[in-house]
Amino acid sequence: MRGDKETTNWLNKSLMKQARQKKLSIIAVGVLSTVAVTVGYLLYLYRGQRNPNIRDVKPKSKCYVLTQDLFDKIENWQEELSKDSVMLVLPEVAHLGNHLKLQLSSIEHKIVIFNNSSAVWSAVRHLKKYELVISRDKTSDMPVDLRRYVGQISHI
């Protein structure tokens, strides 16, 4: 009940806090405007210096959900996984995962083979990579809330 008490405070106006608020708001306005100006200036500086290619230089992290389809479409996995990327192998294509692990022994830790497909989606949520790469036929199995955990979803 004490929890409720706090959350309902916004409704229950206490007389006491009113007096304080004005003083606080003056300070807050001061602090905020200083911060805003500083941030604005820094952004301005940053923009000025920024190399237009900077986005291309720092690769976006990717999370691949491996299916037969995706396996066939991408040729150079060594290249794809060399960046900040990870591969989640669906249970039905575990053999492909094992095959890739052998082939790409130097980066085999980036390949995670699953026995349970619901765990794959949990892993996508945990990993929070920028881009989720998934083949079109698997899209329907994907939980809807997944979109909130990745920056973009690419259907291949």
Binding site: H109, K110, I111, I113, A119, A123, H126
Partner: protein, 158 residues
């Protein structure tokens, strides 16, 4: 106050005993200030953490320790994927660090309990729900995710 001083004085000697051979480092950041500590230790054997060295940042409220509160302990952020560890911050959910703390515990007990937690997660109070679900549904995948995260963190450090 004198309690932490006493722990500090006897610590290096105890660390050399075989019982604590798995701790590679445990010391204050600054010898004049016993409130900030760092620790490095080997992941427990027969767990996904075996073969990796893990880092802890420990903060002690010298006013409270040990009677009114234990140390505050965090893993190095973004290294440990574990049901009871918050990935982004390294926060640890361990009853000994919270309600179950009693003044008889020492820093070494705390580090030991954290190491035990790595090998044996408490699934009833997960901090990282996704990892807890993977652990529960697919242990082998859990092991691979943990090692992927540790490996990446190790590569980032080099």
């Amino acid at each position: 106050m004198s309690r932490i001083v006493k722990e500090y004085m006897g610590l290096q000697k105890r660390l050399q005993t075989p019982e604590f051979s798995w701790i590679s480092f445990l010391a204050p950041v600054d010898d004049d200030d016993l409130s900030e500590w760092v620790c490095r230790f080997q992941g427990p054997s027969e767990s996904p953490f075996e073969g990796f060295e893990l880092g802890l940042n420990i903060t002690i409220d010298l006013e409270k320790y040990p009677i009114s509160g234990g140390p505050r302990v965090l893993f190095e952020p973004r290294t440990v994927a574990h049901p009871n560890v918050k990935w982004d911050t390294g926060e640890i959910c361990l009853d000994l660090l919270k309600d179950a703390w009693t003044p008889i515990y020492t820093l070494l007990d705390v580090v030991g309990a954290i190491r035990d937690l790595l090998a044996d997660p408490g699934l009833d109070s997960p901090l990282d729900l996704d990892i807890a679900q993977i652990y529960d549904a697919d242990y082998e995948a859990y092991v691979q995710i943990v090692r992927y995260r540790l490996e990446e963190a190790r590569l980032a450090r080099v």
